[in-house]
């Protein structure tokens, strides 16, 4: 945990976003409290609080006074939309650069993608 150069609160926020996208955290689910987060991962509580503040700003989490933090309605759909926008530049471009270095052709890549079957189908079948 916490390997990258990114500030830890970014990494925590990103981990929570990941859990929402994968469905591990559903809408209206309660997320761990700052204290639970701090003691579980042995990090400063202010760091955990910063991560939550960032997610509240994005509308991914919302706060119920005196109860805790919850996943906002529509959070997964919103995250998916943001990530789709960045998917090609952030994820595909490096893959394409690497493929070019390795002398792979566009046909090689499309053949591989085609062999993976229908992506939409794969998504739907996921539990």
């Amino acid at each position: 945990m916490f390997e990258g150069r990114e500030p830890i609160y970014h990494q925590i926020a990103e981990a929570i976003r990941g859990e929402i996208l994968s469905g591990a955290l559903a809408e209206e689910d309660q997320v761990m409290s700052t204290t639970q987060y701090a003691t579980t991962y042995r990090i400063n509580p202010a760091t955990a609080a910063k991560a939550f503040a960032e997610l509240v700003d994005e509308g991914v989490l919302y706060k119920r006074r005196g109860v805790g933090m919850f996943v906002a309605p529509g959070a997964a759909a919103r995250l998916r939309a943001t990530r789709r926008a960045a998917f090609f530049t952030e994820r595909m471009d490096p893959v394409i650069r690497e493929a070019a270095l390795l002398g792979l052709s566009t046909e090689d890549l499309t053949a591989y993608l085609a062999s993976q079957g229908d992506l939409e189908q794969t998504t739907k079948e996921r539990p």
């Binding site: 150069r5 500030p7 830890i8 204290t35 991962y41 202010a46 650069r97």
Partner: protein, 295 residues
Amino acid sequence: MNGYPVRTEGLGMSYGRTPALHSISLDLAPDRIHGLLGRNAAGKTTLLSGLAALRPASAGTILIGGQDPFENERLMEHICLIRESGDFIPDRRLSSNLRYLQLARPTFDLDYAESLLEAFRLDPRKRAQTLSRGQASAFGAIAGLASRAPLTMFDEVHLGMDAPSRQRFYDELLKDFVEHPRTIILSSHLISEVEHLLETVTILHDGNVLLADEADALRTRGATLTGPSALVDQHADGQTVVGLRDLGPTRQVTVFGDLDEESLRSAQADGIQVGSVPLQDLFIHLTNDEPREGS
């Protein structure tokens, strides 16, 4: 009760004619966990002794909660320094030591201290002088936590404890800090275990402040570049290199400073691995006076 802010300006301290601290200026915000890092003899204990008013300053000022702590009895009740040596009454039982602390400190929580004794498996009937090094450290940690002092300082107390006890100490510290925020200073030269607990980091070196910053900011100010020597050199050019290591044709440099994220991305695009620098490594690089190996 809230934590105290800690400020020093031009603070100098010396042992006889030997200066130990030169013109230290610190500004530690209240209710945060601050790290004070430095190698042996860097001045950590001297600085903490000054903040706890155990030694007079030879120059400059110390303000704790806006007041000078020196010979300020009311303020001293609210400043707790736990030293590795432990400052307990050796021939008294742990239970009497705790009762004594309760009399001396208005914020001391005896019930909490007793529950911690149990958590650390210390027998309250034992006399302080019969504790092993690890047990004495744990007892120090307990005294510091239960003091709930608005300024609580732990001077390398965790070093004597074994790994499970240290983890217990970190867990208790975090849990109690959330419920009772106060200003905490942890001094250490063993950094990897505590780096994520800290909000700010101050590195002392040879009696001077080498670096003071937010822990998160420090993490982004360092990076390692790993790849073919020539390519790494090309990308490290113009950045401050604090460490260098060669493994055959592969070179790893550690750069530190206001890094140019754009150039790091271009390094990555050229196939160089860009990694994070653990605080411990950064600390070693920055405080290592030996000539650097490699080239």
